[in-house]
């Protein structure tokens, strides 16, 4: 029994690049670009949310208590070295043997490993680097430990923490397309099908979609980063001369 069925999209061999990218019939329907886009976005969003929920509290707690300094050095080195494709490849057999299927666990875990380090590192540095004078002042003003943590350390670190989430999100979106080569679908499927069917325009179109989504993710998180800054911090961050 063949398990990896590479879904044959109903895309003609002689399709033009613009015809594919702007043709409504290729966006809608099962196997359409919108469905693939949704698959990708849902998986990536889940990965980034889980990574944030895990890494931010952990890094904040450790940095607040001044512990785990060594973890930072380790993670800096590890973060660029995670071979996502190999990790997902190792997990596929395990997942199948447990009856969990090709998707989404192997790719989810592999992407999670990719997303955790930047968020952890930025949160740790953000909380650690908050001016100790400000923290002492907050304590002197009678802030409870919890308020020091949430209203001072995390609030002042918001920009850096969000920058970590952005880096993680962009990397996850940029790496997710390998899922199409590991028995799944998602936006990477057009690159895979283009390669498999020797269809250059489909391949190019797919590559453009993948790159565009990664770029868009970076831009959107950049905007969110600006909007999410606490008003007081935003005022401080604004150049004085204006």
């Amino acid at each position: 029994m063949t398990v990896v069925v590479f879904a044959q999209a109903a895309i003609p061999r002689d399709i033009g690049l613009f015809e594919f990218l702007f043709g409504a019939e290729y966006w809608t329907g099962a196997g359409g670009i919108l469905t693939s886009l949704w698959d990708t976005v849902v998986l990536c969003a889940a990965v980034v949310v889980v990574a944030t929920v895990v890494a931010v509290p952990l890094a904040t707690a450790l940095a607040h208590h001044g512990r785990g300094e060594l973890s930072v050095t380790w993670i800096v080195t590890l973060s660029r070295a995670i071979p996502t494709f190999a990790v997902a490849g190792l997990l596929v057999p395990i997942s199948l043997r447990r009856g969990l299927g090709f998707e989404p666990w192997p790719i989810f875990i592999a992407l999670l490993l990719l997303a955790l380090p930047p968020i952890y590192l930025n949160t740790y540095t953000a909380v650690k680097d908050v001016d100790r004078g400000v923290v002492d002042a907050a304590r002197a003003m009678g802030f409870s430990e919890r308020h020091v943590l949430f209203r001072v350390e995390m609030a002042l670190g918001t920009a850096v923490i969000l920058a970590g989430v952005r880096v993680a999100a962009v990397q996850v979106v940029a790496t997710e397309p390998i899922r199409a080569f590991l028995g799944g679908d998602g936006l990477g499927r057009y690159v895979r099908d283009g390669l498999g069917q020797n269809n250059d325009n489909l391949l190019l179109g797919g590559a453009i979609l993948v790159a565009a989504l990664a770029a868009l993710t970076g831009v959107m998180f950049g905007l969110a980063q600006r909007l999410a800054l606490p008003a007081g911090v935003r005022r401080l961050a604004r150049p004085r001369t204006r």
Partner: protein, 224 residues
């Protein structure tokens, strides 16, 4: 897939490794070749870019910005974009892989030169070294630990990305992963994935040792 079939398909079947050793060896060598080619090309370009950025300081920001932009292009997309122009060739694999190494190599090289204390630079000038001599005999050796640290990360991440290059038919350990997947036979997948991780660790260790040998004074400073 039925339970019976799964039982006959263990994560790893040791006989296969012995029988298919030639294939494994070939994949390993291809992987190594692609890694070395890509990192060498990347290091060459990074050296040029760093030299420009160091000589003409205002260029530093656009150069690091450009390498940062390259780094964010998804690998699957970059391979895909180049296939129509270079075909399913080694060039299509090496160009993106080299491009991805630029960010870390340039960043670390610049950081290394920036870390040279101004007093050391002044002392070199005071001793009558020409600017070229100063850069080669004083600044470069002092920046070397940073450059090597960047090289280690570049090599390790390239080994990981070479597995992805198997999607454009360039062999390497990723091909074993894809093969195993296509045939739902787990042994090659496990071997390919494990060996690519082992290869990354080994190369990291090798460059670390080369770096140690190249900067004996750093060890002396640490021990005294």
């Amino acid at each position: 897939m039925s339970v019976v079939a799964q039982a006959a398909n263990p994560i790893i079947r040791w006989e296969w490794i012995v029988d298919e050793w030639d294939q494994i060896q070939e994949a390993l060598i291809q992987h190594l070749e692609l890694t070395i080619l890509s990192v060498s090309l990347g290091a060459l370009v990074a050296a040029l870019l760093s030299a420009v950025a160091l000589r003409f300081r205002p260029m530093a920001t656009p150069i690091t910005g450009f390498t940062g932009f390259l780094y964010t292009i998804p690998s699957v997309a970059l391979f895909g974009l180049l296939v129509p122009y270079f075909g399913l060739t080694r060039t299509t694999a090496v160009l993106p892989l080299a491009a991805y190494t630029l960010l870390i190599l340039v960043t670390n090289t610049l950081a290394g030169f920036d870390a040279v204390p101004a007093s050391v630079r002044d002392a070199a000038d005071g001793m009558g070294l020409t600017p070229t001599q100063r850069v080669i005999k004083v600044e470069l050796p002092l920046a070397l630990p940073y450059i090597i640290a960047g090289l280690r990360i570049a090599v390790v991440s390239t080994v990981g990305l070479v597995t992805v290059a198997s999607i454009i038919g360039q062999g390497g350990l990723g091909r074993l992963i894809l093969d195993g997947l296509r045939r739902t036979f787990w042994t090659p997948m496990t071997i390919g994935a494990t060996l690519s991780i082992v290869l990354a660790l080994v190369l990291d260790g090798v460059i670390y040792l080369i770096g140690r040998a190249a900067t004996p004074w750093a060890q002396r400073a640490r021990t005294t």
